[in-house]
Amino acid sequence: DAGVTQSPTHLIKTRGQQVTLRCSPISGHKSVSWYQQVLGQGPQFIFQYYEKEERGRGNFPDRFSARQFPNYSSELNVNALLLGDSALYLCASSRGAWTGSYEQYFGPGTRLTVT
């Protein structure tokens, strides 16, 4: 079975631009979570979606938004990019919403560089 897939793998954008990152969960998984991992730090939670509804939001500005589609894939959008948005963006899928009860499987991430 295919694992979590993310696209693109790498992306270079300029300050002020907008970016859309995509994630396809493992077949049968209804929950998708997004994380930002800055170099040298652990992941920071951005959003969780379950059954196409937002179930959790981390401490990120409104420039960050996401949505989940009927096929459970997801997009993360970031507007008005700042240099500090440069990071590895990770997507994780799981069968259910509670991360303590359902194992999360991570994709390889999208490396975003903002210049």
Partner: protein, 111 residues
């Protein structure tokens, strides 16, 4: 402010040695997870602990959840070069669906 403090931040030891890494917090977690992440990849779940005092073993890796569910440790016996990686702990709190992550321990096992 990091709610989960991991120590040490970096550890480099010889193959065959034992080691322990720690994950500490002043907050109580309903569950705590340990992950290993290799360069260019996402984290991979190693274990989830949910009960205070719980000990879980995964081959040469032993995980312990503190009695008060505020801290955890990972002990590796007879480390191998394949154990090299970034070890992350992440805790879930009852109030929401968020996982709170530590900054990680970068482990290098030298042959």
């Amino acid at each position: 402010t990091q709610l989960l403090e991991q120590s040490p931040q970096f550890l480099s030891i010889q193959e065959g040695e034992n080691l322990t890494v720690y994950c500490n917090s002043s907050s109580v977690f309903s569950s705590l997870q340990w992950y290993r992440q290799e360069p260019g990849e996402g984290p991979v779940l190693l274990v989830t602990v949910v009960t205070g005092g719980e000990v879980k073993k995964l081959k040469r890796l032993t995980f312990q959840f503190g009695d008060a569910r505020k801290d955890s440790s990972l002990h590796i016996t007879a480390a191998q070069t394949g154990d090299t990686g970034l070890y992350l702990c992440a805790g879930e709190r009852d109030s929401n669906y968020q996982l709170i992550w530590g900054a990680g321990t970068k482990l290098i096992i030298k042959p």
